[in-house]
Symmetry: C2
Subunit: 337 residues, 2 copies
Amino acid sequence: MSEREVVITEVALRDGSHAISHSFTTEQVTNVVKSLDDANVPYIEVSHGDGLGGSSIQYGFSKTNEMELIEAAVNAAERSAIAVLLLPGIGTVEDLKEAEKIGAKMVRVATHVTEADVSKQHIQLAKELGMETVGFLMMSHMVPAEKLLEQALLMESYGADTVYVVDSAGALLPHEVRERISLLKENLSVKVGFHAHNNLSLAMANTLAAIEEGATRIDGSVRCLGAGAGNTQTEVLVSVLDRLNIQTGIDIYKMMDLAEDIVAPILQEPQEITKGSLVLGYAGVYSSFLLHAYRAAEKYRLDPRDILIELGKRKVVGGQEDMIIDVASELAGYKIS
Amino acid sequence: MSEREVVITEVALRDGSHAISHSFTTEQVTNVVKSLDDANVPYIEVSHGDGLGGSSIQYGFSKTNEMELIEAAVNAAERSAIAVLLLPGIGTVEDLKEAEKIGAKMVRVATHVTEADVSKQHIQLAKELGMETVGFLMMSHMVPAEKLLEQALLMESYGADTVYVVDSAGALLPHEVRERISLLKENLSVKVGFHAHNNLSLAMANTLAAIEEGATRIDGSVRCLGAGAGNTQTEVLVSVLDRLNIQTGIDIYKMMDLAEDIVAPILQEPQEITKGSLVLGYAGVYSSFLLHAYRAAEKYRLDPRDILIELGKRKVVGGQEDMIIDVASELAGYKIS
């Protein structure tokens, strides 16, 4: 195996859970992990789309208990390490202990980009458990690079081995990725990672920009199986990096084959950039806002996009869904006056 | 209308013809053109996928005569100019005269990147007819930038108003696009354009690179409706350019709406990056080679990708399909020895 210059984490079995309504089966996970392992993918993330403990009325119930899926993944992998995602407040320390016990080797502790401080307990526990630990700063487009660095330094101080810039809404432009990654590279001693979404058809452009600026941990999803318009398409990414002579250690032909033969049949519908995902990326807002904005738009006779764009400008975050009505009524008022 | 800094040509009704087996109807063309016109798209290309006269056993028969489609487009457009594509050898001067007579305002005369000299007659005729004229250098990844410039200068000398770098196989990497566009910008007095394909998920990255280097004419296809993995997705492109404060003069909301409501229902299947299109982009070969390579691979018990990659390295061009068997037998021989 060649040395890996870029280390890829495959997220289709976690982020892709959103795209198929959390319906992964043990058999699907086993088959996908076996083929990814055979292609020499170093890390494979398996969890509910919203991380450990995500199965709920609010985030959608998993068809199969995620611990069963994680266990199946661990059993199917000979070389690949199985990773889990944990959002403090959704997943608990007990969930993390259980995942570690059944064989998860890496955890990514994810918080909103301004709330790194809530990751302290979980990052520290993960290190105590001997797990490789990643700090995962979601919605990284919502704050200036300096604020992102401040939060990344917190995660580093808690013991994270890597800090990720996570473009949850697929809203970052390439120059914004460069600015963020380069600032983190200059100021962190730990590794820097990048997780893209393709809402603006920029997942590959942003990923290459991140790698050029020094990110060495990169997320991909086979066949774009991820939330919204999906992530950076893994089999395409490894092909492009090969053309650029950047070593991933992954077998390109095997990745192409498993994408077509093992993963594509799992998709309920192919991953395209639809109007919904485009609007979310353009406005830079949470996907959970979409339905609320459409409802508010109907009530106030507005274009839902105007509401979403205004929410993006005001940097409204998850949990502030009541702001959607406020913004809508305000926009409607402006129109009348 | 704001001044257009980037002038977009919508190619879904021409390049997209490949994706739906040349089955466009007059009604579809009328509806798409009306909506694009309403969104203020400046140029709309309408032709068989292989240009005027492409309807044939070799390239696939059009369901509806393309002159009827062009006429429908001209009648549906109030502000947009209707463009046609012409590949000398497939389309004739008579085809061009007929298209101009029924109202086409722009022609793009397309040749293989090393064969600009065959465009002379058609470019000159188009200028005599008073048409806006574009030289369209296909498979631009196959030659070094200096050779591309030489060919572009020929097209300029024949009277082309714009010369396009055309990444027919979706094989160019962003730095290769930069090198080509910047060299053309430095040495041509006419406008420079860029046409991407998304086989390596780089259509948007390459398009932005081209614009940064000074390309002002850009092709897009709504909902990625184009050959292979499609082109730069127009409604996404105008949204990204808006975020970058680059004026296209196009109404973003209307583009998003027509993509979802008018164009998406036309697609026979959504445009994804499949194994086939990925391999073509990775190898940098003609799409027509794919089936031949699979047949040769079966005969010689090879992986078809090895054949395609070798064909790409040897820069085999369309019309040299007999080389596919030569390469396959040679590769098989290497394996035995």
